[in-house]
Symmetry: C2
Subunit: 210 residues, 2 copies
């Protein structure tokens, strides 16, 4: 008796998730409302609440899917640039991030714009996805930042830096920026940070020898 029940739940869950993702991709975060998703999935709003708790639960599931897609893209990008010099590795990862944001604009925005109600925390799996993403950035930094705590802060800072440049450019909050201008900015930030990191590492090696 329980198996068809589980299958029903799981199929409905997938259908609701797919309909929410389709709405999000087409119209953006504000369009993903319980009534619209339920109607598109041909089920009752109560069913959506049964399966995901509420609309925030559904949005978290869509965002988890997006983080998974981003993680795959970034890991594939990291594999492509493995073995290149630091600047090329950081530039490669920044380009992957930019392309993902441009190609999945609404999904990507939803990850950063969706707010959980006060007092509610994202599930642990969500935070683990984020940690895995940051770990990919830590990879190329290992040689220049042997201290793991400093390396973790550096990975977060680099992620935040690239994210901020991409987000402002896509928001167009600072005047008419085009894709070429965005690429120039990412090129600049990855170039100077790579150079600065290598200069710091070389100095640390010198100090070690003294």
């Amino acid at each position: 008796m329980t198996e068809p029940q589980l299958t029903f739940r799981s199929t409905t869950q997938q259908r609701l998730l797919a309909c929410a993702a389709t709405l999000l991709e087409a119209e953006g975060l504000a369009a993903v409302q319980a009534r619209r998703v339920a109607r598109d999935a041909d089920c009752a709003v109560g069913t959506l609440y049964n399966v995901f708790g509420d609309i925030d639960g559904l949005l978290l599931a869509v965002n988890a899917e997006t983080l998974g897609m981003l993680g795959e893209a970034v890991r594939a990008g990291a594999a492509d640039v493995a073995g290149l010099d630091l600047r090329q590795q950081l530039a490669g990862l920044a380009t992957v991030y930019m392309r993902f944001a441009l190609a999945n604009r609404h999904r990507w925005e939803a990850v950063f714009k969706h707010r959980l109600p006060a007092g509610r925390e994202a599930p642990a799996s969500y935070l683990e996805d984020q940690a895995r993403l940051l770990a990919v950035i830590e990879g190329p930094l290992a040689a220049v930042l042997p201290d793991s705590e400093r390396r973790a802060a550096a990975a977060r800072a680099l992620f935040g830096a690239v994210h901020g440049i991409v987000a402002l450019a896509l928001d167009d909050r600072l005047g008419g920026q085009l894709k070429r201008e965005l690429e120039a900015q990412l090129d600049f930030i990855t170039d100077v940070t790579a150079r600065g990191l290598m200069a710091n590492a070389a100095e640390a090696r010198e100090d070690g020898r003294k």
Copy 2:
């Protein structure tokens, strides 16, 4: 006959602006609704529309005020660090930005979260405020980036980088970051970018000598 009319308009405008700012500071962007602002300002909603066109016009006015406050803070910060080395200047400006965002959280968020309806552009004065802000960041870069186009792109990139780090930390989108962690990230990004910029400039000088 026109003068009292103008005074009435201007007083009402200032009262509406002040009430919108108070609402924004206390409750955030979503709370700034025409009906609430008009009620707080003790006037009709129609008067608000007469003066600001619509709620977006009022929000643009509040955001312009915020950009003005940020501009003042950044210019004062730039004066404080003038003459220091590049790393200290960039770190000083990043700290001013972080403090402004922390102290004016809702105002600062509204500048980046408020969206104009599709097809509507921000007024020229708004873009000029942003350009003046970026010009302050360009100041310390003049010595290491003599080319004005590259310097402008670098200033935008550095602003985006610092903005992204601060925004993610305040959003808390990447796990439990505290203020100390935020400071460590800003310290990292300003240190490595300053070092990278100086290394690039030294190399360009060397190339020039050859």
